[in-house]
């Protein structure tokens, strides 16, 4: 966590009740491995409507956590809450805390731009800027005032980590929009990791991609695992099963608020879920 944010942290301590949710061993695992982010009794409102309700979970450092659940269950809203992307929506209000390391990112003194450098994001549809491939990756690095050679090295390293370097090394100055959909999404991942974030949020990153490009992104996630903490929202349960270490299942409650039903190691969630609602969802009985 950056000093910029850390020094702005207040010393508040909130209670973290955990009721009505099956949290298997993921939080214990977080205790063992160390957690990068911690969501504490977190709720989000659009005006008077409570979109997500009372979420408690710990996101394990250096691992991939998947959010799954039917449409409207609040998983993307929660994901966007992890780097305050919801701040862009008028009428949004939150309760509870989201800690990045020990810093509450909802502390009013937090620099949101700096926060997003530490918690990057990849969106559902590849959204390269109308610039060259090089400039897309360099975009978030400009403010770091690197030398030309340092900048080139960082761009190259980011493209290598995103498994895109071999595809584009001979056409770095060509428009990014000329790449295929899968390549564009890997470019967006390269752009997201270029500033060396600690956490990468991915909001259905493969939903617009063909199966082969999807598998390449999943492989890339597995490669990035360890160096980065990754949180992914996916509608594709098989993707969550294949490519995550921990899975959180969400659904709407009777008030139409999204809540977390179960959270645990992915292997356990998909072979021995503890909550019948999770079992019904992953076996296709509803949703």
């Amino acid at each position: 966590m950056s000093d910029v944010i850390a020094k702005r942290q207040t010393a508040e301590v909130a209670s973290t009740p955990r009721v009505g949710v099956t949290v298997q061993t993921a939080n214990q695992a977080a205790d063992a491995l160390g957690h990068k982010m911690q969501v504490e009794d977190f709720s989000l409102y659009y005006g008077a409507f409570k979109a997500i309700s009372g979420i408690n979970l710990q996101i394990v450092e250096g691992r991939i956590t998947a959010f799954i659940g039917p449409s409207g269950c609040g998983k993307s809203t929660l994901l966007r809450s992890l780097n305050r992307m919801n701040d862009l929506i008028p009428s949004v209000r939150t309760d509870g805390r989201v800690l990045l390391d020990s810093t509450n990112i909802y502390d009013p003194r937090v620099d949101v731009v700096e926060l997003r450098r530490h918690v990057g994001m990849v969106f559902q549809r590849p959204n390269p800027f109308p610039k060259s491939i090089f400039d897309n990756v360099a975009f978030g690095l400009r403010r770091l005032k690197l030398s030309k050679s340092e900048l080139e090295d960082r761009v190259q390293e980011s493209l290598r980590r995103a498994a895109l370097w071999d595809d584009v090394k001979d056409r770095l100055k060509t428009p990014a929009t000329g790449l295929s959909g899968g390549q564009q999404q890997r470019l967006c991942i390269a752009r997201a990791i270029a500033p060396e974030p600690e956490v990468v949020l991915m909001d259905e990153p493969c939903s617009a991609l063909d199966p082969i490009s999807t598998l390449k992104i999943e492989e890339l996630m597995m490669d990035l695992r360890g160096r980065y903490t990754i949180v992914i929202v996916t509608h594709n349960m098989q993707q969550a099963a294949r490519a995550s270490d921990y899975t959180a299942f969400f659904m709407m409650n009777e008030q139409r608020s999204g809540e977390m039903v179960e959270y645990g190691p992915t292997g356990t969630i998909f072979t021995n879920p503890q909550d019948k609602r999770t079992e019904d969802y992953i076996t296709g009985r509803f949703g």
Partner: protein, 213 residues
């Protein structure tokens, strides 16, 4: 493509190979204890059987996890389903080794009786079959099944002559009746071990061809 999945699948197969090695060691140790009347070795085999059981259950958990998370298909699916089946087969062979070890303990306080040569021959043959079956599995050698079935017939013949020897010995030497009975049980366990190696070889055929006649 899917490098992570390939690693997980390879790890699963390694776990099965390790279970096979453990079971081979258990069988060998049990037969050594029988031949040398070593109570210490026999007790060790009995103690170690729980480790084999644990390895089996861990392997089954890993296989279920892989099916649920990676959705293997075609040859990979046949491999994983075979691993699930063979985990049980190998664990049972481990139980036969444990059974032989327990018989060694039971024989300790009984009047002596020289081990009949059929048991030595069955021990050699069944161990060789287990080794060959595991090798066939590793090599995906579909041809090994036929050879092992021929070997199994030899073990069955030895078991029949062993049974005849046991009945004769019991009639003619009542003082060693109990020990002769236990030797017959040892022979039974060896016959079962040989029989289950056929199932392992069938697994190799199924992985390779998708069918078992």
């Amino acid at each position: 493509m899917r490098e992570h999945y390939r690693h997980v699948l390879a790890d699963l197969e390694s776990e099965l190979a390790q279970l096979g090695t453990d079971v081979q060691s258990a069988v060998h140790a049990a037969l050594w204890a029988l031949e040398h009347e070593s109570l210490g070795f026999a007790k060790q085999v009995i103690t170690n059987d729980s480790l084999i059981d644990q390895r089996r259950y861990a392997l089954e958990r890993s296989a279920l996890d892989l099916i649920a998370r990676q959705q293997p298909l075609a040859r990979d699916l046949r491999l994983v389903s075979t691993i699930l089946s063979l985990a049980s087969e190998l664990e049972r062979i481990g139980d036969y080794a444990e059974g032989i070890a327990e018989l060694v303990l039971r024989c300790a306080s009984l009047p002596p009786l020289i081990l009949p040569e059929q048991i030595a021959a069955m021990a050699t043959q069944s161990q060789a079959m287990l080794k060959a079956a595991l090798s066939a599995l590793h090599q995906r050698d579909a041809q090994a099944l036929e050879r092992l079935e021929a070997d199994d017939n030899v073990v069955d013949d030895l078991y029949r002559t062993m049974t005849a020897w046991a009945f004769t010995t019991m009639r003619e030497q009542p003082a060693v009746l109990e020990r002769a009975t236990y030797y017959l049980w040892v022979a039974h366990n060896l016959e079962r071990i040989a029989d289950r190696t056929i199932n392992i070889a069938e697994g190799a055929v199924f992985i390779s061809t998708g069918t078992v006649d």
